[in-house]
Amino acid sequence: MNDRAGAASLVTSLPALMEAGLRGPAVPAGRAWRLRLAAVVGFLALWSLASGLVVLLRLFNPIFLPGPWVVVGAVIDLAVKGQLWGHVAATLERVVLGFATGALLAVGLGLPAGYFRPLRNLVEPIVELLRPIPPLAMLPLFIVWVGIGETSKVGFITYATFFPMFLTTVHAVRQIDPLLLRAAQSLGAHRLSLFARVILPAALPDLLTGLRLGLALAFFVIVISEFIGAEQGLGFLINDGRNFFLVPQMLGAAIVLGLLGYAGNALVRLGERHLLRWQSPS
C-alpha cells in the first residue's frame, strides 16, 4: 500500500483527500487509541502544570486553579464522609421525577396531537407562544407560586422539558410515511391496533431521541434551580462552595453531575438499542 503521508503532514495529503475526503485515511485503531490517551494525559498534565505554576510563581491565589488531583480528592473526601450521596440522591430524584412527569405529559399529549389535527390546532398556539421564552426565565415564577421546595424544582423541570419533548413527539408521529398506515389499514388494522402496531413503533426512534434530549435538558436546568433555594443537591454544592472559595468542591460536583448526565444518556441509548433492535440487526 502506498504510503499516504497523512501521518507526516498535518493537513490531509492530496492523495488521501482524493480517496476519502477530509476524513483522510482511517487512522488505524491502535494509533487512534494512543492519540486519544495522549490527549487525556496531555490535558491532565497541562492542567497540573498550570496549577503548579500558579503556586510556584505566585501568580494568583492558588485556590482559583486547583490541580486535578485536588479536585478528585475533594470528591472522594465528600464521598467518604457520606455527604456526597445525599446530594447526588437529591439531584437525581428531582431530575428523574421532573423528567418522567414531563415525558409522560409530552408523549401522552404529543402522540394524539400528532395524529389528530384538531387537537394539534388547539395545543400548538400555546406551545408556539411559550417556546421562544427560555424556560429558565420562568423559574422565578415557579418559586413565587410554589415556594422553594421540591415541588417548584420538579415542576420547573417538568415545564422545561415538556415543550421540546412534546414537539419531537408530534414530529415523530407526523413524519410517519402515510403509505405505512395505508398498508396496515388494508391489512385490517384500525384505530387501536393501528396505533399500537404501526404508529407507536414507527414513531419510536424519533420519540426516543426526543426523550434523550429531554433528559439532557433536565440535567441542564436542574443546576440553576438548585443554586436558588436548595439545601441539598449537586447544584447546591457548587454554589455553596462560592462562600468559602471551595473551588475543588465546585469543580468536583460539576464533574459528578457530568458523569450522572453521561450515565443517564447511556441508559436511554441502551433502551434505544433494545427497543429499536430492528434498525440494525447484527
Binding site: F43, P132, L136, G258
Partner: protein, 253 residues
C-alpha cells in the same frame, strides 16, 4: 387562511384565554390575584419600566453580554473548528477533552466563573463564551469534515491544488453547516443568559426577572419572560433572513 392569519388568530385566542383566567381569578379569588397577573398588568409593568429608561438598560446589558460572549466564542470556534476539520491528529487529540466537558451542564460552571471573575461583566461574558464555544466548535468541525469528496475530486480534475481545494471547495461547501452552528450558538447564548443573570448581576433581563421574585411581583417576571421570548424570536428571524441571503444558491426559486 394564510399561515400568518392563523397564527395571529391563535395568538389572540391564547391572550384571551389568559385574560379570562386572570380576570376570572381576580373576581373569584381562587388564588392570590398577585400570583396571576392579567395581560394588562404585565404590559403596565413593562411600560413603567420603559418610561424610567430602566427597561432599555436591562435589555441592552443582556444583549451586550450575549454579543460579546458569543462573538468571542464564534471567532475561536471558527478558527479552531475549521483547522480541526482538516487536521486529523488535532481532531483525535481534542476529541477526548470535548467528550469530557460535553456532559457537564455549562450552568454548573457559572459559580466558578463568578469566583474567577467576580461580579463584573467579564464573568458573564466569559461564561457565555464558554457555554457557546464547545457546541459551535464541534458542529463547525463536523461541517468541514463532511465536505463531499466528490466535490474535491471534481475540483482537482479541473486543476485545483490543495490550497485551492480548501479555499474554493471546502469552505463554501461547509458554509451552510457553519451558519447553522452559529445560529445554534446564538440560541444557546440567549437560553443561558437569563440563568447567568439570576445570580451576581445587578442589571440585565435575568436580573429584572429575579427582582420580580424578590419583590413578589410576578407581573414583572412574566413581562421579562415575554420580552425575552420576543427578543429571541426577533433575533432568530433576523439570523434566518441573513442565512437565506448568504445561501441564496440553495433554494433559488
Amino acid at each position: 387562511m394564510s399561515s400568518a392569519v392563523t397564527r395571529f388568530a391563535a395568538l389572540l385566542a391564547v391572550l384571551s384565554l389568559w385574560a379570562a383566567i386572570a380576570h376570572g381569578n381576580a373576581r373569584l379569588g381562587v388564588v392570590n390575584p398577585v400570583l396571576l397577573p392579567t395581560p394588562a398588568e404585565v404590559v403596565a409593568v413593562g411600560v413603567q419600566s420603559a418610561r424610567d429608561g430602566e427597561l432599555l438598560r436591562h435589555v441592552l446589558t443582556s444583549l451586550a453580554r450575549v454579543a460579546q460572549g458569543f462573538g468571542l466564542a464564534a471567532v475561536a470556534a471558527l478558527g479552531l473548528g475549521i483547522v480541526a476539520g482538516m487536521c486529523a491528529p488535532l481532531r483525535l487529540m481534542v476529541e477526548p477533552v470535548v467528550e469530557f466537558v460535553r456532559p457537564i451542564p455549562p450552568l454548573a460552571f457559572l459559580p466558578m466563573f463568578l469566583v474567577w471573575f467576580g461580579l463584573e461583566e467579564a464573568s458573564k461574558v466569559a461564561f457565555i463564551g464558554y457555554t457557546t464555544f464547545f457546541p459551535m466548535f464541534v458542529a463547525i468541525a463536523a461541517s468541514v469534515l463532511r465536505a463531499d469528496v466528490m466535490l474535491l475530486r471534481a475540483a482537482a480534475s479541473l486543476g485545483a491544488s490543495r490550497a485551492d481545494l480548501i479555499r474554493r471547495v471546502v469552505l463554501p461547501a461547509s458554509l451552510p453547516g457553519i451558519i447553522v452552528a452559529l445560529r445554534l450558538g446564538v440560541g444557546l447564548a440567549l437560553f443561558v443568559i437569563v440563568g447567568a443573570e439570576f445570580m451576581g448581576a445587578d442589571a440585565g433581563l435575568g436580573h429584572l426577572i429575579m427582582e420580580g421574585r424578590t419583590f413578589f411581583n410576578p407581573a414583572q417576571i412574566v413581562m421579562g419572560a415575554l420580552l425575552l421570548g420576543l427578543l429571541g424570536s426577533l433575533i432568530n428571524a433576523l439570523l434566518l433572513a441573513a442565512e437565506r441571503r448568504a445561501l441564496r444558491w440553495r433554494a433559488a426559486a
